[in-house]
Symmetry: C2
Subunit: 410 residues, 2 copies
């Protein structure tokens, strides 16, 4: 592809992401849903402008997801993990286990192989914490009991979800799943994450010291992005998922005194790169496979419908794992139900590994999108407010594609 | 290339650019020289890590130069053109004409074809205004008579230089140069620039209006970068140089009330992208051709030496086109002598068009680097201060890779 062609592609990706993101925002949905739709419009199903397998687009999208998870890591305050104590942990674990188990067995029952079922189960597991944090902020419920439990559980979800993804990716390359492979890959992924965090902490402090000694322009943002890319590269070399490395790099750098400066400089860079990832995902959807009049594709749609039910019920049930007094357990469960970034990354990784077939890919995206589409209005109901009751101030609306803009919004 | 390979390449480009940029800064030279050296170290001559013709690297570098010229356009205050009145215009025109004519005839005399000679002449023409502005700032001479004349002439230089580049590129694709082609391409390039400016002004105001109505995160930076890419795309479609479009887009957006917000958001994005361009240029240098013990390559080195003399003398002579009372004409001439971004873009475009051969490419980069390397200390002498006399405050040292960070530093 020549420069002219690539320029136009990039322009349309950015413009489409913002236009559809804005439309999604106007109907009370997270912009990331709009970006997926922009991808579908620009992708293989409709305009065929964005080829989700072109080398440059794939690389830009990869950098996009690395920067996105670096930003999420940066905005994640590990102290929030302990905010609601064991309740968050219980809600997170039940909320991961139920959708995973349900998705896994259901997919097996439809005749898919083990590693496909593992991917599908894993894709349904993690809560979309950025979306949830934003809705909680809009509802003024961030500091409520339910809000604290949900955010704590969401952070745990993200971390465990990413490790599950690394494990599942590792298993995918190894063919059939054995107990020995599972143990090895889990140890590798969890080990890498811990090592990346510890080494990252040491490295991040030295990096901050070094940045303060430099005089050239851009040292801070280049060092921060370079650090994220380096940790992603390390993950890739070790054989685990690059964005797990980027997330660990973000967590490490988020605990240094340069946090504010890095977060401010990273924002516009993330604004440019991350929409490319979501548009690329949407671009791979083949709408044809979602045609219910085509008998051959009905089983996948039927499976998608059942998966949606499991995805919602699994999280709602997890809400009842909270034991605090006067906690609205239904609200906690409903608040965990919207899926987001991690689920999308799962589905994308599965497609690229050749495990999630094209028909299943579209169906899974539909399920993830539906959990948000239905989950967000349900949250408003469960928290005792109807949509439109409270018009949030503009400053609180302008939050992320998907990553939280401020630490306290995470 | 797979993700792991590309990630490592990008990490090394960014790290190399900052490390060598910092070293250059420490010895009183502009960081861009360090970035070229980083490219040489990483490129085809030494480590062979960065392949300057790989699709992803080429595209990132192209986006880098588009964003760089967008940023320069944004920081260019057209009012400065009239700051020193006709004196700046006279200095600019003489300073463009003499090195161009000298380079052109000298290259012809060495047996090269007409369109090669045109490229070489043009590459020597434009002053590196960002470098010059920075040194003037360090010397506290931005507001002196000489400083005003130099900056005004530098801005005119940039604009005319970019139009010359568009013309030369247009001629390059048409083979032999005829008067009719020259007239057509000049009309096209100048016409596009004027049209891009006028349309850009209208479009920029609508864009600002639209941005103020949007709620999604990142609308401002995505719209600004999208605008730059769109104008670059337009230039590319019309058949002129993409970065001319980006420069026009920057000039247009710089006159809107969103100037400050766009410039602030653009800075980290430019910090990531622009070093890739300069490292890529350095990566293409084949050091072997600069070996003076190899008889076959001596003519090119000899030509480079003469071109360097012409490049310096042409600008120094141009200083004497200033007619104001009490103006230090030598200081004006010396202050115009460092070449920069536009010259590098010329040489890069010539290489990609297959006109500037590999041996000539290295020699021309050497000439451009030498004008800065020698010009910067000469400026300090001509302005009556010796290097080290005055230690500039840290805040004024932290100026651009190449683009000025603030409007009043342009």
């Amino acid at each position: 592809m020549d420069l002219t062609h690539l320029l136009l592609t990039l322009i349309l990706i950015l413009a489409g992401a913002k236009i559809f993101g804005e439309l999604a925002n106007r109907v009370g949905q997270p912009p990331v849903l709009g970006e997926l739709v922009a991808g579908i419009v620009l992708g293989v199903s409709c305009l065929k402008i964005v080829n989700p397998d072109a080398e440059v687009i794939v690389f830009l999208a990869d950098v996009g997801v690395i920067i996105l998870l670096f930003e999420i890591g940066l905005a994640t305050d590990p102290r929030e993990l302990w905010g609601a104590g064991g309740q968050s942990l219980a809600v997170a674990l039940v909320g991961l286990a139920l959708p995973f188990a349900g998705g896994y067995f259901l997919t097996l029952a439809f005749g898919y192989k083990t590693h496909v079922a593992v991917f599908v189960g894993a894709a349904l597991a993690a809560t979309g914490v950025a979306v949830v944090a934003r809705v909680l902020g809009d509802l003024g419920a961030l500091k409520t009991k339910e809000g604290t439990v949900i955010l704590g559980a969401g952070v745990i979800d993200d971390i465990i979800g990413l490790i599950i993804l690394a494990v599942v990716r590792g298993l995918a390359t190894g063919g059939e799943v054995s107990a020995a492979t599972l143990a090895r890959v889990t140890a590798l992924s969890a080990g890498f994450f811990v090592a990346a965090l510890v080494l990252g902490g040491v490295f991040a402090r030295r990096l901050v010291w070094l940045i303060e000694k430099t005089r050239v322009r851009g040292a801070l943002i280049v060092a921060a992005v370079g650090f994220a890319l380096l940790w992603a590269f390390g993950a890739s070399v070790v054989g685990t998922a690059p964005f797990v490395g980027a997330f660990a790099a973000g967590l490490a750098l988020g605990r240094t005194r340069k946090y504010d400066a890095v977060a401010a400089d990273l924002k516009p860079v993330a604004d440019i790169f991350t929409p490319i990832f979501f548009v690329k995902i949407g671009a791979g959807v083949i709408l044809y496979y979602l045609n219910p009049f085509e008998a051959a594709y009905r089983p996948v749609l039927f499976l998608a419908g059942l998966l949606f039910g499991i995805a919602m019920l699994g999280k709602v049930a997890a809400g009842y794992a909270a034991w605090g007094r006067g906690v609205n357990r239904l609200a906690v469960g409903v608040g965990m139900s919207p899926r987001g970034v991690v689920g999308l990354i799962f589905v994308d990784a599965g497609r690229r590994a050749g495990i999630v077939t094209d028909d299943l890919f579209g169906a899974l995206l539909l399920v993830i999108a539906a959990t948000t589409f239905v989950g967000v209005p349900l949250m408003k109901l469960a928290f005792g407010r109807r949509p439109g009751d409270k018009i949030p101030p503009p400053s609180s609306i302008v939050i992320g594609t998907s990553a939280p803009a401020k630490r306290n919004a995470a």
